[in-house]
């Protein structure tokens, strides 16, 4: 990922003919790129509002069931949450770096950073899988179906274990599964987008003359990271 010269590649491989990807209704590649970026930002704005509904549900229930939330967050392992935060931050780094590689025509770097982002996204979902399956196997589902097993109750800190299980524990976990689940779906979609980018990068589509798909997908990925930046403390830490 250093600033190596693009030796060994012909100019057409470094810079694929922009005309191939220039849509007929744009006057130039720059016009098309700037327009695509504006479009993705507007879409990301809508995503923020989409998640805001769930943040509202979280805020409302936390404000009105404060002790429930203080109790329930002990069921979440902050180390898994922190690990996932590290995973996503690193994946954001590799996503941002992939844009740089495309801009500089560094094909090997581009492939490596795209692949690393994809791998880290997968790692996030693997950690999530372990978290979810551990909970579901121990009866921690959503709403009325939340019946924590003795086994998982015994893993709580003694001071918390001594407290009787709140009857509305399921409400906390409904919100937990909703928010982390919706976020997880967005991670999955992101993985699909990175597979698509890798396929196109493999064909040599991207270079200094055309890299807007790498840029726009990375912007989407950074938003996914930003949502997690809020989810992690809200569920695991406070």
């Amino acid at each position: 990922m250093s600033d190596q010269a693009t030796s060994g590649l012909t100019p057409s491989e470094v810079l694929p003919a922009p005309a191939r990807f220039l849509a007929h209704h744009f006057s130039s590649m720059e016009a098309q790129s700037e327009t695509s970026k504006l479009g993705i930002w507007l879409f990301l704005g809508s995503e923020v509002l989409f998640f805001s509904g769930l943040f509202t549900a979280y805020g409302v229930y936390r404000a009105n069931h404060y002790s429930l939330f203080r109790y329930a967050h002990h069921f979440l392992d902050w180390r898994m949450g922190a690990l996932n935060t590290v995973v996503l931050v690193t994946s954001s780094l590799s996503a941002a770096w992939s844009v740089r590689c495309a801009q500089l025509g560094q094909r090997r770097g581009l492939n490596a950073t795209l692949f690393l982002t994809l791998l880290l996204a997968g790692a996030f979902l693997v950690v999530k899988y372990f978290e979810y399956s551990h909970k579901l196997h121990n009866g921690i589902a959503w709403g009325a179906a939340c019946h924590p097993s003795e086994h998982i109750l015994d893993t709580l800190p003694p001071a918390v274990r001594a407290v009787p299980v709140p009857s509305d524990l399921g409400t906390f976990f409904s919100i937990y599964y909703l928010m982390t689940g919706l976020h997880g779906i967005h991670v999955l979609v992101g993985m699909g987008l990175y597979v698509w980018l890798l396929a196109r990068a493999g064909r040599g589509d991207f270079g200094p003359g055309y890299y807007v798909p790498v840029d726009t997908v990375a912007l989407y990925w950074h938003l996914v990271d930003m949502i997690w930046i809020f989810l992690f403390p809200l569920f695991y830490l406070i």
Binding site: H25, G39, E47, L49, F51, W142, G143, A144, G170, L178
Partner: protein, 555 residues
Amino acid sequence: MHSGEDLTAPGATQGSYLEHGRGLRSWLFTLDHKRIGIMYLVLIAICLVLGGVFAMVLRFHLWNPSGGLVSNDVYNKMFTLHGAVMIFLFVIPGIPSALGNFIVPLQVGAKDVAFPRLNLLSFWLFVAGAALFIATLVVGGLDTGWTIYPPYSLESSRGLGILLALTGVFLAGFSSILTGVNFITTIHRMRAPGMGWFDLPLFLWALYATGIIQIFATPVLGITVALGFLERLFHLGIFMPEYGGDPVLFQHFFWFYSHPAVYIMILPAMGIVSEVVSVFSRKPIFGYRFIAMSSIAIALIGFLVWGHHMFVSGQSKWANVIFSFLTLLVAIPSAIKVFNWLATMYKGAIVLKTPMLYVLSFFGIFGVGGLTGLFLGALATDVPLHDTYFVVAHFHFVMVGGVLIAFLAGLHYWWPKMTGRMYDERVGRIAAVLIFLGFNVTFIPQFFAGVAGMPRRYATYAAEHQGLNRVSTVGAIVLTLGLVIALWGLLASLRRGARAPANPWGAASLEWTAASPPTHDNFDVAPRGRKPYDFTGLRLVSEEAGWARAEGEGA
């Protein structure tokens, strides 16, 4: 003269977007914004007819105080689907998707919208959403009212209809968000050289403001219906009290979108009014910047007033007071527009063609609709009027008298551009007058019924309201007749209408420099921006050739 020529005859639209590619696939998978606009227009018109059928069932049922046309249960389903179909499938998408898609690139001077493939995706999402609404009829319908409040709507004994409807709304909403993204981006980035922000036709300012609402409000509806869907299936306990949830929370979620949604409905309508009033007064629009900025103001303030739908829901007193105050504020930018439109007409040379007749209807009806909103926005008067026919009349005045009538104005105004045909002016005028009369006879009695205490969403009513209800039903028949005649007049023009010139009205915005109908790429020569309400130099050459600028005159 080519009037009377069959549209399908060779040569009628040679070289236009209608001829560019033939066969069903060339339409269903088109990337041409004009074809997408036409497809939306056809589907939206069908939805209007469907919603109208439900409405007529209601009005005939209400002929008698004890009902009798249908069972109470079917009545509940009828008003639910009337509302849901009209709101989600006609009033919200109508002007932006059917007219906006066609006109926006032409008005900015571009070949297409910013993201044509996204535009096609918007269309198919809308089709899927509409299909799911229709499917609710098949599985037994929905009787919750279009506002689908829990706990009733999410109870396990409700059938599958609610799940289909929630999914339909989600898809239609996603379609709306993508349309907003497309329009804002197009207006930002694809303007012709020389077209600054304050050279934009006001229709584009209106759609820009609408796009802001589409992008920021609709996702909240999306999460609301998704939560409702999951609550119904998995008993999450977010909205249902029996599982620990809060039903008033649903109302906050629902109205955070659904109030701004009414501005998604009215802003494009106001954009059309600005265009038509200027052209048919032969005068530049008065207070251009005020009208432009008031569109943005309405979009922004519209986000702050949703609780006025919840004054009697259990919302806190503080919330009630704050929302009531802010609601009265949002009337101001609308009033600014009305004064500017009237000032445009003052000392203008009024041309009473069909689009202008609709716009004049708009001033009267929307004006009353807006004023009656004040009664509902003020806390003390809202409490007795809530859930009565006063509310029903108020929103029909603004949605039908405002949006539908402006839609008809725009449809007639841009019909020559879209189809290359002139509609019959006499038929258009007769329909416009019938619609104005029919509308008022239908809905004015409902204000009085509401003040007298007649509640909404009831299949029966107290005998004292019979007279008002019967007058209303007669009005509905006249209104339907007017709409049928309007529709027939437009469709007949496709076969029998005179060939339309590029600029039949003497308008100055860019779409009138393209052919009627336009070619696939819209403009033969890339246009330059110019003042959209500067009519200097425009002369009527002849009825067939339309208006043109004399050499060297005007912008």
